[in-house]
């Protein structure tokens, strides 16, 4: 445990050192200034000695020490704070980036659905730069540690009996350990209400949610919910703090009683001459500070605890990320071209926490170069199938084969470099239009491809007119919440997402997961023609195009239709074969075609 905590401290310090050596050193100067501050009982003792014996030297030394403390303490303090805040920001940024990297590079999507992961993440992401604050807590802990050490040294110089007071430190450290635990518990306990109150607060400023709340007359109801959750959110902290105060009061009473006993003892000896008035004066002040030893140790523990807790969350995430990566050790490169195709062998899949399989014992072959349509009702497992083929989820049973290589043995990153896709719940990237499209085809150096390539992709996505409507072309900032940002309609966003999917040339797997739901008929029509063209290009490298849809009009031109029902393959074949078979497919097709009769 201690080893673990020590590693946490080292992790923070090493990061700080790497970011700026000088700032790291200056930040600790504050602590140096504090040493003098806690030498003040000694200086006061010198003053009293000088006055009582009418000797100038101790008096000047004592007053001089106090002057030095004040004059230099503040200046050191200011430099320290300046250095500390800058480091705080940079360390915060460093770890924010790390957290984002862990989340963004975990091979699958499992973690984003894991409640435990999301709770840990919530605490870190809620507060931008949380780990920077952890560094701040560390400095505060060190500053608070200087006090007890210096004070104890002064006490030893004045009268050894004062050290008896440290015996009271034992209950204090026990107390401090429990408060640390209570605060951790409070943080965990409050996570759910915290998340929900944030959700409610966000709804009041989100234009769509705000519209809905207005239309349904639920604004006040939401305010009530928000107030309730916000109150719940902070409750565990109030309780932990009250408990802490009760315990610290008990410790303090005990301490003061003991301290008074020793001072009375010292006063007795001073009356009899075996203790000097100077030592007694030091004693009086040091008793107050020895009391602060408890307080400072408590603060040290508080700050350390705060820091260790935050770092622990981070390290938990880091380990989670490593475990997730270790579960995907595959390193084989993806083939340049598919010869055989993609095969699913007895594949089953169940979402974490679900009580039934989303896909059951699927055997499928998607031949190289074909356009395959997947149809089926909501919840039949269409999107899941795509998730498995692109490695977003691990199969619960069976195998996914790329040609004859198990997807598990492939480098997932490399395999995905050979995939492309557009989804119904596409990402609305609020960047420049160039970036929002170009990230679909980043090259090996992570650079956005040139504009010609992007214009071609937009053309393939029947989205050239979306670009034409943007005031600054590819430089237009997307998203209305940015200065000069442009608000796009659902259909415009969707077409940009399809454009993004078209940037990579000749992918081995192109997935189109209901990408046209928000489009009008004319656009849809134009798009289907481009799909066919794109599919041809894809098929030259043996690529497979997989179109998920519930619009049957799209399906007919596919080389092969797969009908999923309730997690299993119900039928497959060409459109004509399936129509002739008169099964599930023919029924659904008839249902939709009837709309146009």
């Amino acid at each position: 445990m201690i080893r673990y905590h020590w590693q946490s401290v080292v992790l923070i310090l090493r990061t700080s050192w790497r970011i700026s050596r000088s700032a790291t050193v200056i930040a600790f100067l504050e602590a140096a200034g504090r040493i003098f501050q806690y030498l003040r009982p000694l200086f006061l003792g010198l003053v009293v000695t000088g006055l009582a014996a009418h000797r100038l030297t101790p008096l000047v030394l004592g007053i001089g020490g106090m002057i030095f403390t004040e004059a230099f303490g503040f200046i050191l303090g200011i430099c320290g704070v300046q250095a500390r805040i800058g480091l705080n920001e940079r360390i915060g940024q460093h770890f924010d980036a790390e957290v984002a990297r862990i989340s963004g590079t975990a091979p699958t999507l499992d973690h984003l659905q894991d409640p435990q992961y999301r709770d840990q993440m919530h605490a870190l992401r809620e507060r931008m730069g949380t780990l920077g604050m952890a560094y701040n807590s560390l400095i505060n802990a060190v500053n608070n540690l200087v006090a007890p050490i210096t004070t104890i040294a002064v006490a030893v110089g004045a009268d050894l009996r004062l050290l008896l007071l440290l015996l009271i430190g034992a209950p204090a450290s026990w107390w401090a350990r429990s408060t640390m635990r209570w605060e951790q518990e409070a943080e965990d306990e409050s996570a759910t209400a915290g998340r929900r109150s944030k959700h409610f607060a966000d709804l009041t400023t989100d234009p769509v949610a705000a519209s809905e709340l207005r239309v349904f007359g639920a604004r006040n109801a939401l305010l009530r919910l928000l107030g309730r959750e916000a109150y719940e959110w902070r409750m565990p902290f109030a309780r932990a703090e009250a408990r802490g105060a009760a315990f610290s009061s008990a410790v303090t009473v005990l301490y003061v009683a003991a301290a008074m006993g020793i001072l009375v003892w010292m006063a007795h000896d001073t009356l009899h001459g075996s203790v000097s008035p100077g030592q007694f004066a030091t004693g009086i002040l040091v008793v107050g500070q020895l009391r602060d030893v408890v307080g400072s140790l408590q603060s040290t523990v508080h700050f350390l605890g705060q820091m260790l807790r935050t770092v622990k969350r981070y390290r938990w995430l880091e380990e989670y990320g490593e475990t997730a990566r270790a579960a995907h050790p595959g390193t084989r490169p993806a083939p340049d071209a598919l010869r055989d195709g993609l095969t699913l062998q007895d594949v089953s899949f169940r979402y974490p926490g679900a009580d039934r399989d989303a896909l059951r014992h699927i055997d499928l072959h998607l031949p190289a170069g074909e356009v395959v349509a997947v149809v089926g009702e909501n919840g039949a497992g269409k999107s899941t199938l795509i998730g498995l083929l692109t490695g977003m989820y691990d199969v619960s049973g069976g195998k996914v084969l790329v040609d004859s290589i198990d997807l598990q043995d492939l480098s997932l990153d490399d395999w995905r470099d050979h995939c492309a896709g557009a989804f119904q719940d596409h990402l609305k990237l609020e960047l420049s239009a160039r970036e929002a499209i170009g990230v679909g085809g980043l090259d090996a150096a992570d650079q956005i491809p040139d504009d010609i390539r992007l214009l071609d992709a937009l053309d393939d996505a029947a989205a050239s007119d979306v670009l034409a409507a943007l005031p600054d072309g590819l430089d237009t900032r997307l998203g209305p919440s940015w200065p000069g940002g442009v608000d796009l309609s659902g259909g415009q966003w969707q077409r940009l997402a399809i454009g993004r999917a078209m940037v990579r040339r000749s992918p081995l797997l192109l997935v189109l997961d209901e990408p046209t739901s928000a489009l009008d008929p004319a656009t849809e029509h134009a798009l289907f023609d481009r799909y066919a063209a794109a599919a041809k290009e894809t098929s030259r490298a043996g690529g497979v195009t997989l179109i998920v849809t519930h619009r049957f009009s799209t399906v007919a031109s596919a080389d092969r239709v797969i009908v999923l029902a309730d997690g299993a393959v119900a039928e497959q074949g060409t459109h004509e074969e399936l129509m002739a078979a008169g099964g599930h497919y023919a029924e659904l097709y008839g249902l939709q075609a009837a709309g146009y009769r």
Binding site: V81, A238, S248, T252, N378, S517, A518, D520
Partner: protein, 618 residues
């Protein structure tokens, strides 16, 4: 605002810090007296030692209860601030303020503060600062007992330090919160992308994460470089201030030393005064808690300003006195937020009139509509079609009173939905990007009834009927019939619905609003995420379900649209076609073209509906 969040707690805390200040004075004063008694071998030493003990003991007790009290107050304060802010966002009748980037950014910035490390520790810091002030005053009194001039001199010294230091912190603050926030927000947006569930798929498929992280680092550095430069300039002033303070304090100490050496100040007196000066340092530089306390005040004022900009006062409900609040409640009953629809409990369909409507978004120069006229008699079902970007969503926003037209009028049963909630709630709308509330299934469906309170059984019954009408039986089976299941997997016992299931929940939500008295049902692409069977299910009961209400359907799927009695085709110039499905097919034009285009896909697939259709219509 802090006072209003809980007067008893604030009074208690004030008492606690008063005890803190007094105990400091007692400790400083009594210890000096004890030392004098000791050097004079007087028996009063025991009395003064006891007093010292009380001072030494009380101060830390008060300190820990101050912290506990502050955190208890924080709980109320956070609730108050969060609600005050949300009230500000809620206050305007329309949503223009939320679609204005600057305003929305202000709301988000304050919200982020309130939930951040500083926001949730605001009260702790504020009371730490107040507690230190009490300690400083305790010391000040002890020094003034000897020489008020020395006390004043020392006070000035510490206040100079305080002022220059606070000036530095001010610069620190302004940069941290007020300026450069666009880049910082941009950096935060990039940072959060890899953490979002919605972004996970594409981030991985396109291997975007390294690029996102690199951009994040670039934008972040850009945002902070200027801040650091300004801060480095500001720190110089603080160092000069500290230097002046140091010189003045040298004066104080020499003064005390001289007085004691020459005998005008007894040994015990010197000990008291020196301790007093040390305690007065609490009136000087305070470090981060002071920053945090200043931030708390800054954001309190931000919330006040933001509320004022949206027509609200500083207090919940926007009003300060009891009488005003009572008056407000009366007005609220008449025309305020969330009042029930004006119609009687029995739903009756409403008439909709757009008369000569011209509308332009504030951020654009081209109007969306020019002189638009559209009249829908009560009870009619109308479909509105048109290509993307032609203004279908804007039409809905105007109908919902979320925007006001530049000229012309929008009326629902003769009432202006942009005027008050009672008129607006005659309109029930599912927006295309409907909201997925982290609430129970029941609350998600019966949202329109939440504000009305009322009978829980009746609410469940209404929700049940609405979900049935929305073909949502499988939603109920997804949650095993438990209406209290939270529809978000991140919560204990929570579950996730598919896109199609959500869409039916949203439809049921709108149907609940109809049950609650809405007379117009607006459906914006209600079946985009539905499969064939679910769509067929919904539309098979469409006429039955919508029989008592005027229905406006916006959809690209012409197979859905044709269920409507009347079809309105919007073009860039306004209404370009208006008639029944059959009429529009016969007359030719954009609608017939679009329909044939969609139908042709089936024809190509061999079912040849186009021929049958042609036969039907000729």
């Amino acid at each position: 605002m802090m006072w209003r969040s809980s007067p008893p707690l604030v009074l208690t805390l004030l008492a606690v810090i008063a005890v803190r200040g007094s105990s400091i004075w007692l400790m400083v004063h009594a210890s000096g007296q004890a030392l004098d008694a000791l050097t004079q071998h007087s028996d009063r030493v025991w009395f003064w030692l006891a007093m010292t003990g009380i001072g030494v003991g009380l101060e830390p007790l008060a300190e820990s209860w101050q912290a506990a009290g502050a955190v208890a107050l924080q709980r109320r304060f956070t609730r108050q601030q969060v609600v005050l802010l949300a009230e500000g966002a809620n206050a305007p009748h329309g949503i223009e303020h939320l679609e204005t980037p600057q305003t929305r950014a202000r709301f988000n910035e304050i919200e982020n503060y309130l939930r951040g490390m500083f926001g949730v520790n605001a009260m702790y810091s504020v009371w730490m600062v107040l507690g230190y002030a009490a300690v400083g005053i305790g010391g000040l009194v002890a020094v003034a007992q000897w020489s008020w001039l020395a006390a004043l001199w020392t006070l000035i010294a510490f206040r100079i330090l305080h002022a220059t230091w606070t000036g530095y912190l001010d610069v620190l603050l302004r940069d941290l919160v007020e300026e450069g926030s666009v880049e910082r927000r941009q950096a935060d947006y990039l940072r959060a992308l890899p953490l979002e569930r919605g972004a996970g798929k594409e981030l991985r498929l396109f291997g975007m994460t390294p690029w996102v992280l690199r951009r994040y680092a670039e934008v972040w550095t850009l945002a902070f470089t200027g801040i650091w430069q300004r801060r480095n300039r500001a720190v110089r002033g603080a160092i000069v201030g500290a230097f002046v303070t140091a010189l003045m304090l040298i004066g104080t100490y020499v003064w005390v030393g001289h007085a004691a050496w020459t005998g005008s100040l007894a040994v015990g007196g010197a000990v008291t005064v020196l301790q007093g000066v040390m305690q007065m340092a609490a009136l000087g530089a305070l470090g981060d808690i002071n920053v945090q306390a200043i931030r708390a005040r800054f954001y309190e004022n931000e919330i006040r300003r933001l509320r004022a900009d949206h027509g609200l006062g500083p207090n919940p409900g926007g009003l300060s006195s009891r009488e005003e609040r009572a008056a407000y409640r009366n007005r609220e009953r008449e025309s305020g937020l969330d009042t029930r629809p004006r119609a009687s409990a029995a739903t009756r369909p409403a008439r909709v009139d757009f008369t000569d409507v011209t509308f332009t978004y504030a951020s654009r120069t081209e109007p969306v509509f020019r002189h638009l006229d559209l009249h829908i008699p009560a009870g009619q079902s109308v479909a509105i079609v048109g290509v993307n970007g032609v203004g279908k969503s804007t039409l809905i926003k105007l109908l919902c009173g979320l925007y006001r037209p530049d000229t012309g009028t929008v009326r629902v049963d003769g009432q202006d939905p942009a005027a008050d909630d009672a008129s607006r709630r005659r309109v029930a709308t599912i927006f295309q990007d409907f909201t997925r509330y982290h609430l129970s299934l029941e609350a998600n469906v019966a949202l329109p009834l939440l504000a009305d309170g009322g009978d829980a059984d009746a609410r469940r019954h209404t929700a049940d009927q609405a979900l049935y009408d929305a073909a949502g039986a499988d939603v109920l089976s997804r949650v095993d019939g438990d209406w209290d299941t939270i529809l978000e997997p991140g919560y204990a016992g929570g579950t996730d619905l598919s896109g199609g299931q959500w869409q039916r929940v949203a439809l049921a939500r709108a149907l609940t609003a109809v049950a609650a008295g809405a007379g117009v049902l607006v459906l914006d692409e209600p079946t985009a995420a539905l499969d064939v069977r679910a769509e067929a299910q919904i539309f098979s009961r469409f006429l039955e379900v919508t029989s008592g209400v005027t229905t406006i359907l916006v959809s690209h799927r012409l197979s859905s649209v044709r269920h409507a009695e009347r079809i309105v085709v919007l073009g860039p110039g306004g209404v370009v076609q208006d008639g029944s499905h059959d009429e529009l097919l016969t007359s030719g034009g954009p609608y017939a073209d679009m329909f044939r285009l969609q139908a042709a896909r089936f024809a190509a697939a061999g079912a040849s509906p186009i021929d049958e259709m042609a036969g039907e219509t000729s």
